[in-house]
Symmetry: D5
Amino acid sequence: MSEKTKILETFENQYPDRDYKIVHTAPEFTSLCPKTGHPDFATLILEYVPDKLCVELKSYKLYLESFRNDGIYYESVTNKILDDLVEVCQPRYMKLTAKFNVRGGISSVVEVEYKKV
Amino acid sequence: MSEKTKILETFENQYPDRDYKIVHTAPEFTSLCPKTGHPDFATLILEYVPDKLCVELKSYKLYLESFRNDGIYYESVTNKILDDLVEVCQPRYMKLTAKFNVRGGISSVVEVEYKKV
Amino acid sequence: MSEKTKILETFENQYPDRDYKIVHTAPEFTSLCPKTGHPDFATLILEYVPDKLCVELKSYKLYLESFRNDGIYYESVTNKILDDLVEVCQPRYMKLTAKFNVRGGISSVVEVEYKKV
Amino acid sequence: MSEKTKILETFENQYPDRDYKIVHTAPEFTSLCPKTGHPDFATLILEYVPDKLCVELKSYKLYLESFRNDGIYYESVTNKILDDLVEVCQPRYMKLTAKFNVRGGISSVVEVEYKKV
Amino acid sequence: MSEKTKILETFENQYPDRDYKIVHTAPEFTSLCPKTGHPDFATLILEYVPDKLCVELKSYKLYLESFRNDGIYYESVTNKILDDLVEVCQPRYMKLTAKFNVRGGISSVVEVEYKKV
Amino acid sequence: MSEKTKILETFENQYPDRDYKIVHTAPEFTSLCPKTGHPDFATLILEYVPDKLCVELKSYKLYLESFRNDGIYYESVTNKILDDLVEVCQPRYMKLTAKFNVRGGISSVVEVEYKKV
Amino acid sequence: MSEKTKILETFENQYPDRDYKIVHTAPEFTSLCPKTGHPDFATLILEYVPDKLCVELKSYKLYLESFRNDGIYYESVTNKILDDLVEVCQPRYMKLTAKFNVRGGISSVVEVEYKKV
Amino acid sequence: MSEKTKILETFENQYPDRDYKIVHTAPEFTSLCPKTGHPDFATLILEYVPDKLCVELKSYKLYLESFRNDGIYYESVTNKILDDLVEVCQPRYMKLTAKFNVRGGISSVVEVEYKKV
Amino acid sequence: MSEKTKILETFENQYPDRDYKIVHTAPEFTSLCPKTGHPDFATLILEYVPDKLCVELKSYKLYLESFRNDGIYYESVTNKILDDLVEVCQPRYMKLTAKFNVRGGISSVVEVEYKKV
Amino acid sequence: MSEKTKILETFENQYPDRDYKIVHTAPEFTSLCPKTGHPDFATLILEYVPDKLCVELKSYKLYLESFRNDGIYYESVTNKILDDLVEVCQPRYMKLTAKFNVRGGISSVVEVEYKKV
């Protein structure tokens, strides 16, 4: 388990017999561009169907804040966050959509998905 | 039957031969966070296909108001309200979407569903 | 044929060989609450695929106005209007969506559908 | 070929091997109501998949302007424009959506579709 | 390889085992109308599922800027940009939607798609 | 005192030493057109600075409902409502803005004002 | 009195002792460009303080429709309509704002005002 | 000093030589209707120019939460909150705008102001 | 007279006795950044009160297009366009507002004004 | 001159004879809360009338980024940025509006102003 995933906490899903959806929208994500060192900004939309565990909201906030001074690309950070969350809470389904602010006149979205087999 | 479900009243569906949809949007739901004691706020969107019974609107409003000073988590309150409504009016289909206000810079949605087998 | 349906007029569909959709949105529907006597307000969205007959727009307006001083519930009025329109113009498909204004902090939608067999 | 369709011009589709979509939105369509003589106004949304020919945009504008002083019903004008465009450019698929302004408190949409067999 | 595609750069997809979506929205595309010489303006929405390569964002911006003084039609420029991007980064799926500003009272959208076979 | 003004009730202003503003927005006003008999609809925005008395909200709602089947023109009804409210609660300042729905393609606003001398 | 102003009718202001404002918004104004013959479209916002006479709404609608096939410039038509209305109803104050649709990528507004001396 | 004002805390204004404006928007205010016992909801917009003291944000939040189960009228609660804040932080200027949710089809705003003499 | 101002044409103001306002909104202005050579984009809002001459709309469009490949700063281009227009049409009042797109995460507006003395 | 103000650069105002307005909107400002260490986020709107010097945009961006890991209160950071900018570019007028994101259910704005005497 990496340093970052240790920040993430979970709590027991009280309704494991039902497939239901949880969405957390975090409009204050920020990290650094590895090339220029300038800050990037994104809104992260996390949508998942819990199995035995739910993501604890405060720890998720702290986990996202831990990227503040990391240099990391759009595609990498989106995939990494999904992988970390899947590892920690083993959901039935999870999707992460990251909507990055305009850079050079272009805005970008990265959308990654996980389905339990 | 719990104390809370006793508040809920129903009336007879006058068009039981037709599958049709009813949606009630309640933007004034509030309960307490069980950890901090501070109030939470949500918009509840209830969508259902009635069978023999419809949810009486005024009693639904009173039922929602009964959570005002209860300490209860996002995921629990959404599942509980669905369960109570299903128990009382036995619909053919029911979905409850709870959109909670921003906390710690993150807004949350919980969406639960029931289908008669 | 009831008093109300006599208000409704139709005209011949000039393109019966083609399945096509007509939508009429009427944001000024009003009737009375049978319990309190106070006025209710709704936007009615009528969507249909005509067969041999189309709903004449002016007569539809007069038909809707005829509910102005009637005491009738949300679910009943929506189902009744669909039934009347189906009886009069015998469409291939018809859907009526009634979006009622906020009452007691809650807004309601009723959505009913008809499919020719 | 009618007088009106003679206004419409086409140009050769340079990418006939690929199915792709073209949408033209014309918010300034106006004709006359055949009953009252008063002007009607609509936004026309034309969506199509070209085969060998594309609709030339300027001629389409002139074609739409030619209805300015014609008395014609909502349903008729929408079906007629689709028929004319299909006749002239023989598309793989075409849909025309006409959104008419409020008359008597009611706004109307007519949506017609063509699929090459 | 044409002059234009030489501007486009790629970088290695770090998550090739996962199908995921990248969207770049460029609201500042401009070229010239080949008939009149006047400038056209469009918002380009590029959506793709990368295989081994991703489009490098800065080079994509430069590539789009290279059309600034080119005379080229709506349909051609949209198809050409898709072809160039497919050639250079060989994605699993790619869609380009170009939304052109109002000309002669009509706005236009061209939407082209590529699927790896 | 007319029949209508008898419906209006007031309560004592608890803060008469301070000039402050109260605004009531009523989007469900409806009366009849005296010429055609068809219903008119308006949003009424009442803004006032109370002196000794405040308008009781429920009685104001009933007062507005009393116009439901009255035939009365836009300009008259707006001036009349202002006059009635001024007569009953004697405010320091009062403004009534009535925004009527589209009729014959034209929407209308009437705005009347009263200042205590 | 010109042909056009003969269309305009007035009715007596029932509240001449009070200065109050009437606004009519007509989003369906259309005339022709005198240079190109192509139609122009505008939203006309008429705001006035009546003296002895008010503009009759239906006649105002017919008056606006009378420009449908007239060739006339933006600045001229706006000034002319104000002059005609001032001549016919002699208001204490009148302002006409004409918001014309995009032509050549540019939208235009003309705003003219009259104050009784 | 009342029980409620004891909740409010202040901190020293670091820039007392400059007149500047602070605005706090609290969309989650709720109290009870003293007549019916049902909850009321409002957005409170507090705008002020500090003198020696600023309102501490967390204590302001707790202060607002203390009204949760109090029965109090729109006009009273708005005036009371202004008075409490003025008493505690003695600002140069302060305005409180309370926008209450729809009740009986009518939404209400109360706006009160304080100016240091 | 510079090369650029020669493009601008005027026509005689037909209503010189009245002070009235003309607004032209041009959302498609583009020039180049003199430092980086990359394109800048802006919406230009021109508002003026004509004296003897009005700006001819088509020539204004061509004048704006002439900046397409010029390297010029935000502040300079806004001041220069105002100066050119004032020189050519000698208005009673003129204001130019230029709203530039986001660069480096920051959007900029420059607003310049001229008043005849 | 402090470390931070050294980051700020200026360029000579080319139009010092004219009073004109420049507005820079920076929606990506972030610093840390000195109490909790958690990040704060704000949109900064800088509006000024230059005298001899203008704020160089890129250096302003770098200056704002320098607060990324500073612990500083809402009121302090807004006043400090204004003071720094006034010191460096000596404008005729300057206003800074900082709109902070929701914290504890409350969003805040701080607005400070400078006028040359």
